[in-house]
Symmetry: C2
């Protein structure tokens, strides 16, 4: 998370070098944490990293993809959300918990645990995780489930609270019997909670 | 978390000195983390700290009180649980969430956040927090609510997952609108979840 511009001559950094990638990532982390995902621009990030915006796109793709690279989330929400949302509104509880367990029980879970640990210890990472949840996951879920706009943010935050607590107790604190319960037990018990938060009366 | 016996002569540590307290706490932390709350004994802890067991009781009271001192939990569950359980089984959801919010919205919440942060970063603290949850809170709740023994541990762990996730999102990650929602909103939305985990069909 170095935020200083390097004192090296600009010509000293070759466009293809790992230095350039790192400089872009460092500038992006700072921009996203300070301004939030929506207000940060690729152009500002490129300027701070002293590279051409085209190079940012070349290395990292879209602003979303650059953001995911800075947060070091081990998953791509755009790939997972279809599985969560495919069954429609009435099955979102079960499908969300099922997908969540599948990802967390895989090697990606280790990286997820590292991210949560880091977010708990650092205001900076907490802000990044909050931006990630809000802009990359919750906003998409709200849009695709066509939730009532006045209730949607609270519903989304409630869902996040139960899923985060599940991750914490099952994978980090390792509280039994949740830590070693089979996926089906967790789905059967927690899916109704998520379903109520998503579509039930509040 | 020093675990070495000090090489100083035993007569060099006066019974009333802060050193003695610290030595007892260090020995207790190690004993509880290694053997768990149930298997650790005051006698073993006194031996490791090179003091008389009576001195441990003098400083810290019961084994429970010594454990609470090592975990640095800013609350005493024995004082709070009556408020949670007073309304009986059918009101435990609302009373638990109400008590939880009251404590976390108070200065004790800052210490609680520090404990959770620490538990996320350290295997050692995670183990202590797990012992605390299991032996000081969940076991009491299970006993007092007279839960079916085969289901009780899962019910207790599910409750812990939702409450931990609420603490994380409201007080640490500060996800809106949960972070600034009035207590009544949180009680209205989360109490039914806790009630189902405690007494509903699973």
């Amino acid at each position: 998370m170095v935020d200083k511009r390097r004192p090296t001559r600009r010509t000293g950094r070759r466009p293809g070098s790992p230095d350039t990638r790192e400089a872009i990532l460092a500038a992006a982390r700072q921009a996203f944490a300070e301004r939030g995902f929506d207000n940060a621009t690729v152009r500002q990030i490129a300027t701070a990293a002293e590279v051409d915006p085209a190079l940012v796109h070349h290395y990292f793709g879209t602003k979303e993809q650059l953001f995911l690279a800075t947060v070091q989330v081990p998953i791509n929400p755009q790939e997972l959300l279809p599985a969560v949302l495919a069954g429609g509104k009435d099955n979102v509880g079960e499908n969300l918990v099922r997908t969540f367990i599948r990802v967390w029980d895989s090697p990606a879970g280790t990286a997820g645990a590292a991210l949560i640990r880091s977010a708990m210890g650092s205001e900076w990472t907490a802000r990044m995780l909050r931006e990630f949840l809000t802009t990359q996951i919750l906003r998409r879920v709200i849009r695709q489930l066509d939730m009532e706009p006045s209730e949607a943010p609270l519903r989304a935050a409630l869902i996040a609270s139960q899923m985060a607590g599940l991750a914490m107790m099952r994978y980090i604190i390792k509280l039994e019997p949740l830590a070693s319960a089979p996926a089906e037990t967790i789905i059967a018990t927690i899916a109704p909670t998520i379903q109520r938060y998503a579509t039930g009366p509040l």
